[in-house]
Amino acid sequence: MEALSIEGTAKTPSVKFDGQEGVIEIKGRSIPENSIEFYKPLVEWLEEYSGTPLDLTQVNVQLEYFNTSSSKCILDVFKKLEAIHKGKSEVIINWYYEEDDEDMLEAGEDYESIIRVPFKMIEIVE
């Protein structure tokens, strides 16, 4: 299936969803006023990918900031990944946070406690 690629802006993250490689990336800032609009194509892409996922899907989430409006949409994305993980294929979510950013680590742990997919917390040391 076709890859999904979206350039980042001041309020929205860059997105690279590659179905051939099984690598899904969300990076940057996610603080739009209307997050549903931004995340809709991401959720739709995953819906299609969940029909024929690779044996292993690696998910890299590296956010500098995200607002509470995005937090619900990110949960929707993770719920799609959870459904894939429940099937035969494996999903790993790599949650990146900057050194000392306890809030971002905690946000990752919040998701980890809700979503039944293995998380890896990765500290970015500058």
């Binding site: 006023e33 509470t68 619900k72």
Partner: protein, 185 residues
Amino acid sequence: MSFDVNEYYSKLNGGDIVMSFKGNISSELISNVLEVVESKMDEYNESSKIRKKVYNVLVESLQNLYHHIEELPDEMNKEYESKFGILVVRREENMYKISTGNFISQGKVDVLRNKIDKINSMGKEELKDMYKFILNHQRLSEKGGGGLGLVDIARKTGNQLEYTFEKFDDIYYFFILDVYIDFSQ
């Protein structure tokens, strides 16, 4: 006597102001404010921890205004723009103080007051549980608000949300929210 918004705003504008604004809260305005405050914090050489907390709280405060501001009736539009709000960001000796203000109709005052009082009565773990519950069980409104903003602000600052409702006229109150971000985290 009714609450004087303009007088309140000019009083707030003393001391070390990082940013202040009074008027229509639009998406563009939010982008501009964030850009200005971010570059000011660079000038102040704030630690990345403080920068992140201030930025996050600012996003939630402004987007709370953006999503929840009530459209004002025509007779008030002469003086106040329809999505009228105020914002003042101050840098004090030990903290940042972010103040926002907006009109709220009388009928909504109690719900908001109860919500804030409830948040203020909660400890760190309770706030975390409340956040996760709302995250997992409440859908986003059409406007995009999720009811998580104030909980998130309380969690990230670790401080009480200070507020007042000032009577403006028979229909409206002016809601003022002060959020503090301590330097010593």
